[in-house]
């Protein structure tokens, strides 16, 4: 319980709350879009670089298990999400696939928040975790977009959507950062370390402030999406997070690593997936998938999910 409160009172989580409050009181506070984009670029590069440097110190054998676990869950989670949405929630195929694509992919900010969370507890998660983020970003989207094509036997715009995901700015920055970090290694990385590591939490603070404002505008759509999707947006992450803890620890992750891993796997993408779904499944309703992944699952994970996964991880491996 204390760790939950600990998480709630961290600067970055409070920044998120401030963003929500600002919109609720109808403040004219407004982030210039270029600032939002610049911080995104910075954060993605920073975790890529940091992850690459760490990866350069990791023996391949240590990395193989978690990487396979990531791929496996990247395929499994969108299928679970689709099944629940289609057969329990009675969504049509298009919307069920569209939402499932988001839950198959990953929210980078949730990942970062989880990293910060366990670090604040004095733990050090595995350095290669950002690599897993990159691995997790794509397969979930592909699997979910394939579903309507397989079921309805339609030739879709899957290829276009795949290009969108693979060359999307978030993958390019994350993977580009990873490779650069891997190539330069710890010593040469020092020249940019102050910028990319020292400034990280502060940039994240600003980013969550903005995300809080965006989330607040999503909250207005909550009644539009219905009670089922609200429940879905909370329970499915818990389910996925639970699976991720078990599989992650089985693959060799530490308690801290499994906590972060669960946060990643349970999170819903809201940058890569929306763009891909908008192109491949234009008939899917953006209000449904954005509200559930950004308006429900994201704040749930930031405030309660991450500490919960930590408790679960402790329970299994503490």
């Amino acid at each position: 319980m204390e760790s939950v409160i600990n998480n709630l009172a961290s600067p970055v989580v409070l920044a998120f709350v401030l963003g929500i409050v600002a919109k609720l009181i109808k403040s004219d506070l407004d982030f210039p879009r270029p600032l939002y984009q610049s911080i995104s670029i910075y954060l993605l590069l920073a975790i890529g670089l940091k992850g690459g440097v760490e990866l350069s110190k990791t023996p391949f054998s240590e990395f193989l298990g978690p990487a396979s676990a990531t791929l496996f869950l990247g395929v499994l989670t969108p299928l679970i999400a689709f099944a629940i949405l289609r057969y329990v929630g009675k969504f049509d195929i298009t919307n069920a696939s569209g939402i499932a694509a988001h839950y198959g992919s990953v929210s980078v900010v949730t990942f970062i928040a989880a990293i910060s969370y366990v670090q604040a507890l004095g733990l050090e998660p595995e350095g290669f975790l950002p690599t897993l983020v990159a691995i997790l970003e794509v397969p979930g989207i592909v699997v979910a977009l394939l579903i309507p094509i397989l079921i309805e036997k339609k030739k879709g715009t899957l290829k276009k959507a795949m290009h969108e995901v693979l060359t999307g700015s978030s993958i390019v920055l994350l993977v580009g950062g990873l490779i650069i970090g891997f190539v330069v290694g710890p010593t040469k990385f020092e020249s940019v370390e102050l910028f990319f590591v020292g400034g990280f939490q502060g940039a994240l603070f600003l980013f969550l402030l903005e995300l809080g404002m965006i989330t607040a505008s999503r909250l207005r759509d909550l009644k539009k999406v219905g009670a089922f999707l609200v429940g879905f947006g909370i329970l499915v992450p818990i389910l996925h997070g639970f699976l991720a803890v078990i599989i992650g620890m089985w693959a060799g992750l530490s308690v801290a690593g499994a906590t972060v891993f669960a946060a990643m796997v349970s999170s819903g993408s809201y940058i890569a997936a929306p763009a891909a779904v908008r192109i491949a499944l234009p008939k899917a309703n953006p209000t449904l998938y954005l509200t559930s992944s950004l308006g429900i699952t994201f704040p749930f994970n930031i405030a309660l999910g991450i500490p919960l996964y930590y408790i679960i991880a402790n329970w299994f491996g503490g």
Partner: protein, 100 residues
């Protein structure tokens, strides 16, 4: 000054369609276009492309034939699934023969 009567075609679309729109405009025979960033509201409320930068607005000086082609193209490709608005005006263009 001798002005040429041409059409000014305006398209407002989701930003996600930006690259495709440019391709269509050129394919339809336009000699150029001007693009501006815009926001907006319409029948469909918030855009999926909100994170990607909202709307783009294209302005194309072209002959009526090219204008008509652009209308057809956009109607057939996007009207069903995307937020797109298209309209046309008469304009008098200096050095207008450049744009035909």
């Amino acid at each position: 000054m001798s002005l040429v009567n041409l059409k000014l075609v305006t398209i407002v679309s989701e930003r996600i369609l930006k690259t495709q729109m440019v391709e269509h405009i050129v394919e339809c025979g336009a000699k150029g276009y001007t693009m501006l960033e815009a926001t907006g509201e319409g029948s469909r409320g918030i855009r999926a492309s909100e994170f990607e930068g909202r709307n783009v607005k294209f302005e194309i000086i072209a002959s009526s034939e090219v204008a008509e082609k652009i209308f057809q193209k956009i109607k057939s490709e996007y009207f069903e699934n995307y937020a797109v608005i298209v309209y046309s005006q008469d304009v008098q263009v200096v050095r207008g023969d450049k744009y035909i």
